[in-house]
Symmetry: C3
Subunit: 262 residues, 3 copies
């Protein structure tokens, strides 16, 4: 029975965990400081509010330490890497490390810009608890295509959780690997949907000390909210609004009923 703890972790009730974290976020109202790209700031704040959290968003280098140190988690998104953000991000990461605050890295479009790739690598060296990326971003960072094996190897060698998002989300800490098949194609037609979802990953890491499970729970929540939202939408415009409504109204029971996890 010495392997029982590991075994029970492998068969965690992810929808149950997700429901419990969502309810705790609504009552504990965790603060998340999000240094995110200009096109994502508003939707990220609205997603966090709809899920129960409290966002702050300043990218001013002078202010970032104070905001990070009062937050439960930090999100670092590299989508628009202007001067203030380039200066603020290392300070935010250093503050998060000093306070043992979990932080999450989202290296948006890192494949498109050599200076961004270099910057992302220095962020990675700072030890995010979760790296969220898509296949193109992973390939740029890892120097090889994303496969279950390469992603696990990368997570292992960088001592982080990789949450590789796509039609199927793949989340791994290098040992365990969770697949989530929830979500809806309309999510790809709303800017910053992925960026904003990563803010929920950050919020959940503040509430649950296993970042693999926290990340998977957050992706499950956003994927299921997307499925519910799509039923009431006529396109990507109304979908933005029904998505926030669905997240705001999401119940633990709905998570159990809809989760597609393997």
């Amino acid at each position: 029975m010495t392997s029982a703890p590991a075994s029970s972790r492998d068969t965690i009730d992810l929808p149950g965990l997700a429901g419990s974290l969502l309810e705790r976020l609504r009552t504990e109202r965790i603060r998340v400081h999000a240094i995110t790209n200009a096109a994502a700031q508003t939707f990220t704040a609205n997603l966090l509010l709809a899920a129960g959290g409290i966002p702050s968003l300043t990218v001013a280098p002078e202010e970032v330490p104070a905001f990070t140190s009062r937050s439960g988690a930090l999100l670092v998104n590299l989508g628009t890497l202007d001067r203030d953000r380039r200066e603020a991000i290392p300070q935010a990461i250093a503050t998060a490390r000093d306070h043992a605050t979990p932080w999450v890295l989202d290296p948006v479009f890192v494949e498109a810009s050599p200076p961004r790739l270099e910057f992302a690598r220095s962020c990675l060296a700072g030890g995010p608890c979760v790296l969220r990326c898509n296949a193109g971003e992973f390939a740029a960072l890892a120097g090889e295509d994303a496969t279950p094996g390469s992603v696990q190897a990368f997570a292992n060698s960088h001592a982080t959780v990789v949450a590789l998002t796509g039609a199927v989300d793949l989340i791994t800490d290098g040992t365990r690997l969770i697949r989530i098949e929830n979500g809806h194609p309309l999510m790809g037609y709303v800017t910053a949907m992925g960026c904003a979802g990563t803010a929920l990953v950050a919020a959940f890491t503040a509430l649950h000390d296993n970042p693999l499970e926290a990340a998977a729970a957050a992706l499950l929540v956003t994927g299921i909210a997307g499925e519910i939202a799509a039923r009431g939408a006529n396109g990507p415009g109304t979908f933005q609004t029904t998505f926030l409504d669905a997240l705001f109204n999401l119940s633990p029971a709905t998570l159990v009923a809809h989760g597609k996890i393997s």
Copy 2:
């Protein structure tokens, strides 16, 4: 009868004033220059447009004097205090003073960041006609908790109107005190709802030379628009859209019917 003017001002018909200012805003299309935080810019512009005003938003220090001098009012919001904004705000305030243009200060999250608090104090010294803040922001600025007495004392000593927003809004110029109980909890789940509402305060100060009454009228309008919007919303996503619709369609008669003022 010498006290009649004061007395009649004390019993001002606020819903009537609010309806009249809203109709004037729609026809006179007042320009408001808003130096506001990155997450609030879009919603602030959309709220001003829905109410009938014309927003401009640049934070470039070189451009702020020209934009301020052609506007009817200025909004200064400290929500994301990056380099451009730190440089632009004093120039905008100086321009507003030179042109006797009313301007409104919104010291967002000033309790969270010592450099922001210092910056907010220097802004306050520039003489805003209205300071809009919540209880936490007030406490940081005033060094004491917000009570009707402390807020009136602060308004008096700073020769400004304080519009303290919360479940009940409290607006005072140090002498008169107006309470407004309109609004809806969903307003707290949309980012920048308060920031954007302060832009309407600014617009109304351009149209009415009593800033206490202008501020109260603007908060009445946003609170009632929020109540109407909530009826047609399923959560904070649809609420954003029904709120702008409600503001766009709001009639003076509706303001009279819904106002909860004391």
Copy 3:
């Protein structure tokens, strides 16, 4: 019959072209790099996504060459001309010229700010394939009021297409002149509607080598989407969402049925 080509170009089937470009955008998923103002970034990205394109938005000077060189078109919008944008825009334009990538200039509010006017003139000298502006912006740039004659003369002397938007859009390359009467008044109550529409102009210039026709086709698409969206909207809030839905669902047949072109 030597004049046949010119004549057939004069009687181009614009709704047919617009439908074909829209369908190609959805399948070829053209990348557009948009250096646009802070209030327009999110809506611009969402409009491009709804139309089928792939937006990128960074304004970091270090990154702009890499993003521009991988894009099919570039949009330069001067709406919030802060330090990063002032530095990034000339680099983006130079990159576009090096790669023969079409680019479009939108000199928002150029009449309001002398440094912006000077900056806009230096951009114009860089040779945009389309200049999109309204009557006030045109007058500031041209030094005379916008009339069909002055706009044609300006297009001629600057060797560009001018797309003058208003109740009636007027598009000219200095020789041919197209008028489009589609659109809806609610479009004026949504911030960045025009700015975002110009991103579609940019996307279409990547797909069609006649910028006059590309610009006219894009304005036809946004105008008709606006008309359809207005039917399902109660005001400018819901209109934002129904507009993106209408654009997402727009069919070539609808373009043919609704186009008001002369």
